[in-house]
């Protein structure tokens, strides 16, 4: 029996509302099928199933809000007998989600990020908080990681939680009516965690884009307007390939160690018009051709802005790419999206004086930056990554 659980769609997600089932008990499902929709702070997400089998029982019904890890449905795997129905809504989701992690990870394919538990610890240190304050914090949805304790030995007390809740409410008074406020909160949580926990180091370099731009212009000339490739596409591809040379930047920092990921799923930061940002994954970016990548990017941006992302896209990214060049930004100083360990930032491709072989010329120049987790890699490897990226962009025809 496999269990289909409320997934953690990002480090900041604690619960989700089941919006819709696309299957019924008795339906056959294949790994990768979209079988339900879940509403999160990032909008409505289509949830894929990670096992083949037959839907046995649906345990959570549309409209219900449940914590990450709650079993939503059970799936009978091939060769298994039908079992007596189990009780609805198992009361101990924490135990269940451990099981979900295991069942999600023993399948081959993209490794799943384990769901984030409520942070009872900060950077491995146990929070000093009174039992009553902890209970109150849960009731008022106060994020404990931001609360300063004033009790004995600086323990967090009820009064501290009450103050924090007031501050939270004052900071986001429109939270219940504006969905983007939820996203803002989600970003705030993830980025605050990143800045608190990840020792970032930053490297930047100028890359001569003459070859890429020249090649791209001639390629696009051959193509209809609908098939045109944007400059960001070779950048994504070059990033994905460069990760093959420096794989330590492609993975997650979990349980105090680097967990390398074999597949390269590039999270691409997409800003939303109503504010906020999502960085869904382009799966296997290293294996896609440029036209395939352009198509994938087009599809991803359209669905992101239309609020139709899939669960795997929200959880699978192994590195993030941010492009801010459209707005004239020269250099990006990125904040890593935990538990990833690197973020590659691209600025504006602009014409610059460029000295080479004793000659001065005008070249399209791109400032590329790397923000990386110093726990996972050192500057030396980061530099090798940027150089590999540069080399790939000098031979765009091979991308």
């Amino acid at each position: 029996m496999a269990e289909f659980c409320m997934p953690s769609l990002g480090a900041d997600m604690k619960e989700g509302i089941l919006v819709k089932w696309k299957v019924e008990p008795g339906d056959q499902v294949k790994r990768g099928d979209i079988i339900s929709e879940v509403e999160t702070q990032k909008g409505i997400i289509e949830i894929e199933v990670f096992t083949d089998g037959t839907i046995e029982q649906i345990l959570v019904h549309p409209g219900e809000k449940v914590p990450v890890g709650t079993v939503l449905a059970t799936i009978r795997v091939p060769g298994e007998e039908a079992k007596a129905p189990r009780e609805e809504r198992p009361p101990e989701p924490t135990f269940k989600y451990k099981f979900c992690m295991i069942s999600a990870q023993h399948k081959e394919g993209p490794a799943k990020r384990p769901p984030e538990p409520t942070p009872v610890t900060t950077a491995g240190k146990r929070l000093k908080i009174s039992p009553s304050a902890r209970k109150l914090a849960a009731e008022l949805a106060v994020n404990l990681s931001t609360v300063q304790g004033t009790g004995q030995g600086n323990a967090i007390t009820r009064a501290d939680i009450e103050r924090a809740a007031e501050a939270q409410n004052a900071a986001a008074p429109l939270a219940p009516v504006k969905p983007e406020a939820g996203m803002r909160q989600a970003i705030a949580t993830a980025m605050a965690r990143s800045n608190r926990e990840i020792p970032h180091y930053y490297l930047a370099t100028h890359i001569d884009m003459s070859n890429t731009m020249r090649w791209l212009a001639s390629e696009n000339k051959k193509r209809s307007i609908k098939e045109r490739i944007l400059p960001v596409v070779p950048l994504i591809k070059a990033t994905a390939l460069a990760l093959g040379k420096v794989p330590e930047l492609n993975g997650f920092w979990i349980d105090d160690r680097l967990q390398l990921q074999e597949a390269v799923h590039v999270g691409f930061a997409i800003s939303l018009r109503q504010g906020g940002l999502v960085a869904p994954a382009i799966h296997h970016a290293d294996l896609k051709s440029l036209p395939e990548l352009m198509e994938a990017l087009h599809d991803l941006i359209t669905r992101t802005r239309g609020g139709r992302l899939r669960s795997s896209e929200l959880t699978d990214a192994t590195i993030t790419v941010t492009c801010l060049g459209d707005l004239g930004v020269e250099t990006v100083y990125g904040v890593i999206y935990p538990p990833q360990v690197a973020l590659v930032g691209f600025g504006k491709i602009m014409e610059q004086p460029w000295a080479e072989n004793g000659m001065l010329g005008i070249r399209p120049v791109l400032t590329t930056s790397l923000a990386a987790d110093h726990r996972a890699t050192d500057g030396h490897r980061g530099a090798q990554f940027l150089e590999a990226l540069n080399q790939y962009l000098q031979k765009p025809e091979e991308l």
Binding site: S130, P131, S132, A133, R134, K135, T150, G151, Q152, G153, N154, A155, T157, R158, A159
Partner: protein, 332 residues
């Protein structure tokens, strides 16, 4: 005598009135103990009763706690309703075998055939410079023993009303009268009578901290609460009244609203009733606590004779005030 008429009365007189009422109402009741008759009681509680009720009901005994407590047990088994007076809780240790091995066990060992409807009154506590062999607070020890009830009347109302309820109880009941309360004087309704003996009472409501106490410490806690109220800290003062069976529902409910608990107990800290209360709070109200439970207990020494040392060995108002402030306004 009108219903609402109040009389001025001391704790000592309230206990005497309770004994007098019991002797009048039930002919099976009699009082026995050292010096209860001609001397009028070591603490003058039974003064005048011998003259009023005669030597068959007010019985002076030899200095033999085990003997006369055993006699009380025998009389209770035989259908009487004896009130045994033991001078202090320290001396009750001479009768511990009778109390613990006999009175507390007979109902159990007779397969439920023999109740022991005995009441033992004794003084407890310090503050009167009676030194280490007359001043200890061992009521918490007795609260350890299944088969008996342990009452600690602190107010005039309880001093007046607990005895009758204890006599009505079919099993042995120990009543601990604090030495320092005997001269306490106040108003009591002239028609005051029996009170329940199984519930704690909130003597002062408050929202910031639950102070759990009993006996003479109750008044120190109330005095501290008054001082603290002047500083904006509202203390809820709970008088346990009965240490066995312990009414934990009352203090657990209180803690659910104040989220902080301070136990004030003149008895020693190690293994005392304060430790038991603390354990019950952990079992029943852990998730309500906003600060660690604290205790103010008697110093772990034999009670000193010298006045300043005796005071230092007992919980005092100042310590309650200081501790309460720290618990409520802690910062670092």
């Amino acid at each position: 005598m009108s219903k609402n008429e109040m009389i001025q009365i001391t704790y000592r007189e309230a206990v005497r009135e309770a004994i007098r009422e019991a002797l009048r109402r039930d002919e099976r009741v009699f009082l026995l103990g050292e010096d209860v008759g001609r001397y009028g009681g070591c603490f003058a509680v039974s003064k005048g009763l011998l003259e009023e009720f005669g030597p068959e009901r007010i019985i002076d005994t030899p200095l033999s706690e085990s003997g006369f407590t055993g006699a009380g047990i025998g009389a209770a088994l035989g259908g009487m309703r004896p009130i045994v007076e033991i001078m202090t809780v320290n001396f009750s240790l001479l009768a511990a075998d009778q109390i613990i091995n006999n009175a507390a066990t007979f109902l159990h060992m007779s397969g439920g055939c023999f109740n022991v409807p005995l009441v033992i009154r004794m003084s407890t506590g310090g503050g009167k410079q009676l030194a280490a062999q007359h001043s200890h607070s061992l009521e918490g020890w007795y609260a350890h023993i299944p088969g008996i009830k342990v009452l600690t009347p602190a107010t005039l109302e309880d001093a007046r009303g607990m005895l009758w309820s204890a006599l009505e109880d079919p099993d042995p009941v120990l009543i601990f009268e604090h030495q320092s309360l005997l001269n306490m004087e106040g108003q009591l309704p002239a028609n005051a009578g029996a009170v329940d003996i199984d519930r704690a009472q909130i003597r002062r409501p408050g929202s910031d901290l639950s102070v759990i106490t009993y006996g003479a410490s109750l008044f120190k806690a109330l005095e501290a609460a008054e001082i603290l109220a002047g500083e904006g800290i509202e203390v809820e003062v709970i008088d346990l009244r009965t240490l066995r069976p312990l009414d934990d529902a009352t203090f657990l409910t209180s803690i659910a609203s104040t989220h902080r608990a301070l136990i004030v107990d003149e008895g020693w800290r190690s293994g005392g009733i304060s430790a038991e209360i603390c354990a019950r709070i952990m079992e029943g109200a852990f998730y309500e606590l906003d600060a660690p439970v604290e205790r103010i207990c008697g110093a772990e020494v034999p009670m000193p004779y010298a006045k300043h040392l005796e005071e230092a060995a007992m919980p005092q108002v100042e310590a309650i005030v200081t501790t309460a402030k720290r618990m409520v306004r802690s910062n670092g």
